[in-house]
């Protein structure tokens, strides 16, 4: 579980996040939605420690991120997997080497065990027989799946996804959504997904956090989205503009 308490973040005079209080629970996808520039990506970067918040606490299962020294923070990050908006695959490495990379760095597995784990991860994302292709040789949807496979190569507890559906067609988008739900449930991990794709929100949004102008404007689930529209004009406008 990840708790965010009173999080504030500004860039110069521009306040990007204002008093964010959220709890992300394990075992189901937590969706952070909002328009471009609403502060979703900044929130995600604060959560993984790529940005330092001005105020507030981020607590990973009773461990305060802000109180950690450099080494503890690096240790925590080994429990984190992240799917980047642009995939961030290492372009000089093959698919297999990309997935093997965290195993090489942080596990004591033998080369053959590492290969077994890589193949297991590739099977999980339905991408067998692509081991020796380079990122430049595969499609956008395949890159996303490689990104997910790399993120789950080590036994992670937390998975962060920044716009996992950006640039994908609706069918591939659905495949990625299903994959994220399945991985979250199978591994019982805390998954935080940044998205502005309302189709994804409606399909897999077991917990939805709507960020509007840097503040949490609405929290609910896909089951009570309709109710949310009526009580929150900003959410309603965001939803209508999405279709």
């Amino acid at each position: 579980m990840i708790e965010v308490q009173g999080l504030h973040k500004s860039f110069a005079d521009r306040k990007v996040l204002n008093d964010i209080n959220i709890t992300f629970e394990p075992g189901k996808p937590n969706l952070v939605i909002g328009a471009s520039g609403s502060g979703k990506s900044v929130l995600l970067k604060c959560l993984v420690g790529l940005l330092q918040p001005d105020e507030g606490n981020i607590i990973y299962d009773s461990r305060y991120l802000g109180h950690m020294d450099y080494k503890s923070r690096q240790d925590l990050r080994r429990e984190i997997g992240m799917l980047f908006q642009n995939n961030a695959l290492f372009d000089s490495l093959t698919v297999e080497e990309n997935i093997e990379f965290p195993l090489k760095m942080f596990s004591e597995l033998s080369p053959s065990d590492r290969l077994d784990r890589v193949n297991e991860c590739l099977k999980k994302v339905n991408l067998e027989n692509s081991n020796h292709k380079y990122p430049s040789e595969i499609s956008g949807g395949m890159k996303k799946r490689v990104g997910i496979a790399r993120a789950i190569a080590l036994p992670i507890k937390y998975l962060f996804c920044d716009e996992p559906n950006s640039g994908l067609d609706p069918l591939t988008s659905r495949v990625i959504d299903d994959l994220l739900v399945q991985i979250t449930q199978d591994l019982n991990i805390t998954t935080v997904i940044n998205s502005h794709d309302m189709k994804t929100v409606a399909d897999i949004g077991h917990k939805i956090i709507f960020i509007y102008k840097g503040e949490v404007s609405w929290i609910g689930s896909n089951a009570n989205l309709t109710h949310g529209y009526s009580e929150n004009p900003a959410l309603s406008a965001f939803f209508k503009a999405s279709f």
């Binding site: 790529l50 990050r77 984190i80 642009n86 995939n87 990379f101």
Partner: protein
């Protein structure tokens, strides 16, 4: 951004770079690959430039010292002086400084663009999220590889500068091979080689660390990656010339 702000950022960057690698086996593998990229890939260009520069320096020095003039009648300057001037300037200046200025353009721009590209495509963030010290992971192998390979290239360049001079004596009657060698032997001093190597190590560090720093702090897109390469080369050249002056003053200043 002021000079001192930039210097502070560089110091912070180096504090992270000079940390113990997380996995030595991975570190050495990358370092050997970088040695190939920095050293072997630059060998041909260094060999060509050194040979031609050596030949041209010999011809021009001979022309200036041995052509009769009112101030210096030819007979007053022995021919071996040309060899002395060429060999000394090769060891002290041409081999380390000119070679490193060339390498600044080749290696510096390459490193800055490579790391800059990793930065804008979020690969650096990916290292960080995995719990890897990204600054050290991307920059330290390049710095170590540079510290090994660039001084080695300077040694090769030095031999070829002299060899270029020897080649030049084959095309002129004004100077013979013996004149060149006699002059070179007469003024040779081991301290000159020491100064050349000190310059080599300092310039190697400047080329690899400044270009890594410039690439690591790239923000934006493809345009900014190109700019990072250009800025890195400019900064490295200025730093090389500045430290060249400082080293000359410290070791050779009267």
């Amino acid at each position: 951004m002021s000079f001192f702000t930039e210097l502070g950022r560089f110091a912070i960057f180096m504090r992270f770079v000079l940390k113990r690698p997380q996995k030595w086996s991975v570190f050495w593998k990358i370092t050997f690959r970088e040695m190939h990229n920095i050293g072997i890939e630059s060998l041909l260009v260094v060999m060509l430039i050194a040979t031609f520069t050596g030949a041209v320096t010999t011809i021009q020095t001979a022309n200036q010292l041995l052509t009769p003039s009112d101030l210096f009648p030819t007979q007053l300057i022995p021919k071996f002086v040309v060899g002395a001037v060429v060999s000394t300037s090769s060891i002290l200046e041409l081999a380390p400084t000119v070679t490193c200025l060339v390498l600044a353009g080749k290696i510096g721009a390459n490193i800055a663009s490579e790391i800059g590209n990793k930065k804008i495509s979020e690969q650096i963030d990916a290292y960080e999220v995995m719990g890897i010290n990204s600054a050290s992971f991307v920059a330290l192998p390049k710095i170590i590889a540079g510290l090994v390979m660039i001084p080695s290239l300077i040694i090769v360049a030095n031999f070829l500068l002299i060899y270029g001079g020897v080649l030049a004596t084959q095309f002129t009657t004004a100077l013979t091979f013996d004149d060149l060698v006699e002059g070179a032997r007469m003024v040779f001093h081991y301290d000159y080689v020491k100064i050349m190597m000190i310059k080599g190590f300092i310039f190697a560090f400047l080329i690899t660390s400044l270009s890594s720093f410039q690439g690591y702090y790239t923000e934006g897109g493809a345009l900014e990656v190109g700019e990072a390469g250009t800025k890195a080369v400019t900064k490295i050249c200025i730093a090389i010339l500045f430290f060249d002056l400082v080293i000359a003053q410290i070791f050779l200043g009267l």
